[in-house]
Amino acid sequence: MSSHMMEGGHGDGFTPHGRSFPWLHVVGYLLSLVLTIIAFLAVLNHWLSGRTLISIIMLLAVMQIGIQLFFFMHFTEGHGPRYHIMALGFALFFTIIFVGGSVWIMSFGGSQAY
């Protein structure tokens, strides 16, 4: 096993891209900008309202996560045990707990106006 992993690394690093132009990052960046702008405009111009609006924004958020993972975090690359799948599983689990729990707590058992 190598003595340590250098960030942005050669040798031990994860990126097999070498020094070519980082197209993946540029595309990812543009995509995430577009998604943000859509969300922003939907609210600003009152395209939708209520539950539909919230659902759309949440959907866009999930797509943002996907973009982060595949375009910036090289989610599909790497060697050795698949710890990152486990990490993502945890993230999903905790997200559900936090969002679900917050909705449950903040709706006060349905007896509050929020």
Binding site: M1, S2, M5, M6, G8, F90, F94, W104, I105, G109
Partner: protein, 653 residues
């Protein structure tokens, strides 16, 4: 022009003038020493740009002790004010600021750096690695923490301190009710140090998963390593909630949004909710690593292996998951309804089970062991009754209907000091005494340490037991004074006396460190294994060479070092000339500190709402990141010859 604040000095209070003068004097003294002895280059090369985990660990220890002093002084100020009814030592506003900075500093800038010190000093050595996975990021972590702490600490001399408690609840912290830069200091300080904490969590998760010595399977890892793994998981998944809560509150304050305001569709209770999604796991972030410390200390000084290794691992992992499922027990009184309160109450009590398992295991580890009462062991044994009482009062608080009585009373204060001091601080000190020789090459003096321990331990009970009673008698937290005739006076006085005993205990710890440093030749650790301990770090000389292991060890079982010693084969971990190869090490870099300075400037910009300053700071942050990403930095190799020389000089070959 956009509105902003002027960074005016805080005036009008003799205590603050006193602090101003002492800060100025200390700064001048430090600068004088650096100039006089021409130490600038040394400081820069050896410390400010270091990426060596051992040195970063030492920096964390120093920072934690300094902040413990600052937070401790805050505590003594509060106790002085409360010693008698109707005191006029601190005015109400000043009292609010003192309890807010006290809590913030103790959790974020004492407990956290103590944990990170442990992570850094011990983990790579314990798993047979030469550094952490991302050494450069590790330096960024430290400097972000450092400048976050600095930002909070300057607030009491310029601009004014935060004054809404360490939880900083909305809507009190909205601009409308809390104008001035004080709260901004809190928000930015936590945000900066939070970046560092997150990076540390990721760094150590990866380090532990990917950089263990060959043969060290997960179930052969020392328990401290397991504990740090569990704490890293909590850091990674808990900190985002804090980041979001603080960011939204900042947007409310500086940009007039309405996330947590009372009107315009804001929901102040959402802040409380988000804060504790992080806040409850946070108490385990500062607790699990010390569980790890105790799991090293008890076996080492009982001469036995730890009782119930697998159940220790299972309980650590269980705690790390379950700690995410309890957060609403901090706001039962918000009234989220019987369903919510019942679930969160029962879940909170359930976390006592894995914790109880650990306490029993530690006691069984000592049972029929050959116990040596050294300094680390003393703090560890002192911890047990403390923690059992803290857990018991925790379960009392977790009974939601009961909590309607205890909530925000001195009973709560006594509970969390019982677990945080009795757990986190006792554990940090046990760890400090235990690994001090590994860091510095000499042990700390027993005699002075013993006095410190007893002053602190007695002081602790004298301070906090009266507070349980005061809470039950109706004294609420965060009041700056109280009238006579409530029946509270004597207990308050007693509590204050205890607090000063603890203060004396702290001074004795510092004296112990200074005394031992002066007598370090007598206290020298020549063997590298002064305690006859069990894990790999003790197979190295104290302090270990820069590269830790000349030859990376191969592990075949738990407690490898102990087993080798027992069978008289400790020599197999010594390097031989032909095994030594060139060693690849990371380069030092000045960028982490410069990067963090720019972030500090961003922080100042937000604090005073000076947008030009924010832009300048962010430009600097981006520029350093850009420079880093185009930099060709693949580290360097220490030639085999040099390693051989060094090992020879250390008497290991």
């Amino acid at each position: 022009m956009l509105p902003h604040y002027w960074p005016t000095p805080v005036t009008g209070d003799p205590l603050i003038y006193g602090a101003d003068v002492s800060i100025a004097l200390v700064s001048i003294a430090i600068l004088f020493v650096l100039f006089y002895y021409k130490k600038w280059g040394w400081l820069w090369r050896e410390w400010l740009t270091t990426v060596d985990h051992k040195k970063i660990g030492i920096l964390y220890v120093i920072a934690a002790l300094l902040m413990l002093f600052r937070g401790g002084v805050d505590g003594l100020l509060m106790r002085t004010q409360l010693a008698q009814p109707n005191m006029h030592f601190l005015e109400s506003e000043h009292y609010n600021q003192v309890f807010s900075t006290h809590g913030t500093i103790m959790i974020l800038f004492v407990a956290m750096p103590f944990m990170f010190a442990l992570f850094n000093i011990v983990i790579p050595l314990q798993i047979g690695a030469r550094d952490v996975a991302f050494p450069y990021l590790n330096a960024i972590s430290f400097w972000m923490f450092f400048f976050g702490a600095l930002l909070l600490n300057i607030s009491f001399v310029i601009g004014g301190s935060p004054d809404a408690g360490w939880v900083s609840y909305a809507p009190l912290t909205e601009k409308q009710f809390d104008p001035g830069p004080g709260e901004n200091f809190y928000l930015m300080a936590l945000q900066l140090s939070g970046i560092g904490s997150m990076a540390t969590g990721i760094n150590f998760l990866v380090t532990i998963l990917r950089m263990r010595a060959p043969g060290m399977t997960l179930m052969r890892m020392p328990l401290l390593t397991w504990a740090v793994l569990a704490a890293s998981i909590i850091i990674i998944y808990a900190f985002p909630a804090l980041t979001i809560a603080l960011a939204l509150l900042l947007i409310d304050r500086v940009a007039g949004a309405h996330f947590f305001t009372m009107g315009h569709g804001g929901n102040p209770m959402m802040y409380t909710n988000l804060f504790w999604i992080w806040g409850h796991p946070e108490v385990y972030i500062v607790l699990l690593p010390v569980f790890g410390v105790f799991s090293e200390v008890f076996p080492a000084f009982s001469g036995k292996r730890v009782f119930g290794y697998s159940s220790m691992v299972a309980s650590l992992m269980a705690i790390s998951i379950v700690s995410f499922l309890l957060w609403a027990h901090h706001f039962f009184t918000m009234g989220a309804g019987p369903g919510v309160n019942t679930y969160f109450g029962i879940a909170s009590m359930a976390i006592g089970i894995p914790t109880g398992v650990k306490v029993f295991n530690w006691m069984f580890t000592m049972y029929r062991g050959r116990i040596r009462m050294t300094m680390p062991m003393r703090w560890a044994v002192g911890f047990i009754p403390n923690f059992v009482i803290g857990g018991a009062t925790g379960v009392m608080l977790a009974a939601a209907p009961g909590d309607y009585q205890y909530h925000n009373s001195f009973f709560l204060i006594a509970h969390f000091h019982q677990v945080l001091i009795g757990g986190t601080i006792y554990g940090s000190l046990a760890g400090m005494y235990f690994w001090w020789p590994k860091m510095f090459g000499f042990t700390l003096d027993e005699k002075r340490g013993r006095i410190a321990f007893w002053l602190w331990n007695v002081g602790f009970y004298v301070t906090f037991f009266p507070q349980y009673l005061l809470g039950l008698m109706g004294m609420t937290r965060r009041i700056y004074t109280y009238p006579p005739g409530m029946g509270w006076t004597n207990l308050n006085l007693l509590s204050t006396i205890g607090a000063f005993l603890m203060g004396l205990g702290f001074i004795y710890i510092v004296w112990d460190i200074l005394y031992s440093t002066m007598h370090r030749s007598e206290l020298k650790d020549v063997t590298g294994d002064p305690w006859n301990a069990r894990s790999l770090e003790w197979s190295l000389p104290s302090p270990p060479p820069h590269y830790n292991f000349a030859v990376v060890p191969t592990v075949t079982r738990r407690d490898e070092w102990w087993e080798l010693k027992k069978s008289g084969r400790a020599d197999v971990l010594r390097p031989t000339a032909q095994d030594i190869e060139a060693i690849h090490m990371p380069n030092n870099s000045g960028k982490p500190i410069i990067f963090s300075v720019f972030f500090f400037i961003v922080g100042l910009g937000f604090v005073f709402e000076w947008y030009a300053v924010i832009v300048i700071g962010l430009a600097g942050v981006l520029a350093t990141m850009l420079l880093r990403s185009v930099e060709e930095d693949t580290g360097h190799h220490i030639p085999a010859e040099e390693v051989r020389h060094e090992e020879m000089a250390l008497g290991r070959m």
